[in-house]
């Protein structure tokens, strides 16, 4: 593995941030092409490992991937530089856009355009949901947790962070019970990797 300069790290991730729309998995497909195939900074296996880590740690997947590639190449400083690179394009563009938006939001044409856009946004969120739904394991706990989380979040003002924490606690309890009865078989690790590799192959996902 060649040693990468901080500037190269920054430039590669800045470019990826600038030319990926929607982020997330769409960006991972581009990074794979750039980092594994073109620059050979990391191997495909490294990439898969990083996707697993990015998916199972908090935060935005595209940013997490940038952070872990940066860290692998140049340590903590590399992690910071790569992260900065990937978020800077959106930061600059969106900051500028926000001012345009606040200037126009009482304009009648702007409002009617966005009335239309909201209908489209609903569809985008529907698609995000169906895609995420396909990725979870199809078992009783998953269905139950999904319905409960949905109902509580929709019809009450209960803090969603507590819902996520409760999910973690339930998952831990279930795993501990299962692992007692099935002699420490690794439960979900294989599945996470399956999901990761499936996503690479499709590579056309939008969020």
């Amino acid at each position: 593995m060649k040693k990468t300069s901080l500037w190269q790290l920054f430039a590669v991730f800045f470019r990826t941030g600038l030319f990926t729309f929607g982020g997330g998995y769409a960006m991972i497909a581009i990074l794979q092409e750039e980092l594994v195939n073109n620059r050979k900074w990391i191997t495909n296996n490294d990439m898969l490992d990083m996707i697993v880590v990015a998916e199972s740690t908090p935060g935005v997947i595209a940013v997490n991937t940038a952070t872990s590639v940066g860290y692998k190449q140049r340590g903590v400083l590399g992690a910071i530089i790569a992260t900065l690179g990937v978020i800077l394009p959106s930061f600059l563009i969106v900051s500028a856009l926000s001012y345009v938006i606040s200037a126009f939001q009482s304009n009648i044409w702007y409002q009617s355009a966005f009335k239309g856009i909201q209908a489209c946004v609903t569809v985008l969120v529907v698609n995000a949901f169906t895609k995420m739904f396909k990725q979870i394991q199809q078992d009783v706990y998953n269905y139950l947790a999904l319905v409960v989380a949905f109902a509580v979040a929709t019809f009450t003002n209960f803090n969603v962070i507590f819902l996520i924490l409760s999910g973690a606690v339930c998952g831990l309890i279930i795993t501990l019970i299962k692992s007692k009865s099935t002699d420490d078989k690794p439960l979900v690790v294989a599945d996470t990797q399956d999901i990761a590799s499936q996503d690479d192959q499709t590579g056309e996902v939008d969020q």
Partner: protein, 206 residues
């Protein structure tokens, strides 16, 4: 101090977002409503903008909320500072966690506690996204209805035009032309055009 609050809320959002961009949406909606930083319309509109601008969806959303909040209170440079604070806060937790996890990669991957917690969290996140989806759809079709406080008599107009648009866009978004899906940006532009035509020019109001 608005910036401390912005930092704290976005730090929490960054810390508890598992599963990428859209998983963050329910938390952003809740926080924005709690502090009345933006109207729901401003937030939902921006989802369309975030999809059509480069960069990770969730970062776009953080930068936008930060800018709007700061701008409202302290003008232009206040907005810039707000954007920096929110964006920095949302990536900080993962930055720290990833650096730690990268060192302990093997232990992390095979830890049954980590995997167990994730197993528990994933469906919750999907349920939350479903909830955000219903919230947005309700806002489009039945503006002014709050699902946590459903009114006994239905007074708001039913926006059937948007409902028809939603029904038309759903199959369009799944359509594959020469093996490629219709790009979200194209759909957003199309829906903006339709919005101008139907709500602006023809002035059909729900």
């Amino acid at each position: 101090m608005i910036y401390l609050l912005l930092f704290w809320e976005y730090f929490k959002i960054g810390l508890f977002t598992i599963g990428g961009g859209y998983a963050m949406l329910p938390m952003v909606i809740q926080v924005v409503e709690k502090h009345q930083w933006l109207t729901t319309d401003q937030l939902y509109n921006f989802i369309g903008v975030a999809e059509s601008t480069p960069g990770p969806f969730a970062i776009n959303l953080a930068t936008f909320v930060g800018t709007m909040v700061g701008n409202e209170q302290f003008g232009f440079w206040g907005g810039v500072l707000g954007a920096v604070v929110a964006t920095f806060a949302v990536v900080l937790p993962s930055l720290v966690i990833i650096v730690i996890v990268s060192k302990l990669l093997e232990q992390f991957k095979s830890s049954k506690y980590v995997q167990g917690a994730l197993y528990g969290i994933r469906p919750v996140v999907v349920g939350l996204v479903l909830s955000a989806m219903i919230g947005i759809a309700t806002n489009v079709v039945l503006p002014n209805v709050d699902l946590t406080n459903i009114p006994s008599s239905n007074v708001t107009p039913f926006n059937w035009v948007s409902l028809v648009m939603m029904c038309a866009f759903l199959p369009l978004s799944r359509l594959k032309i020469k093996g490629k899906k219709v790009h979200p940006i194209f759909m957003i532009l199309l829906s903006a055009g339709l919005g101008v035509l139907l709500f602006g020019v023809c002035n059909i109001s729900g």
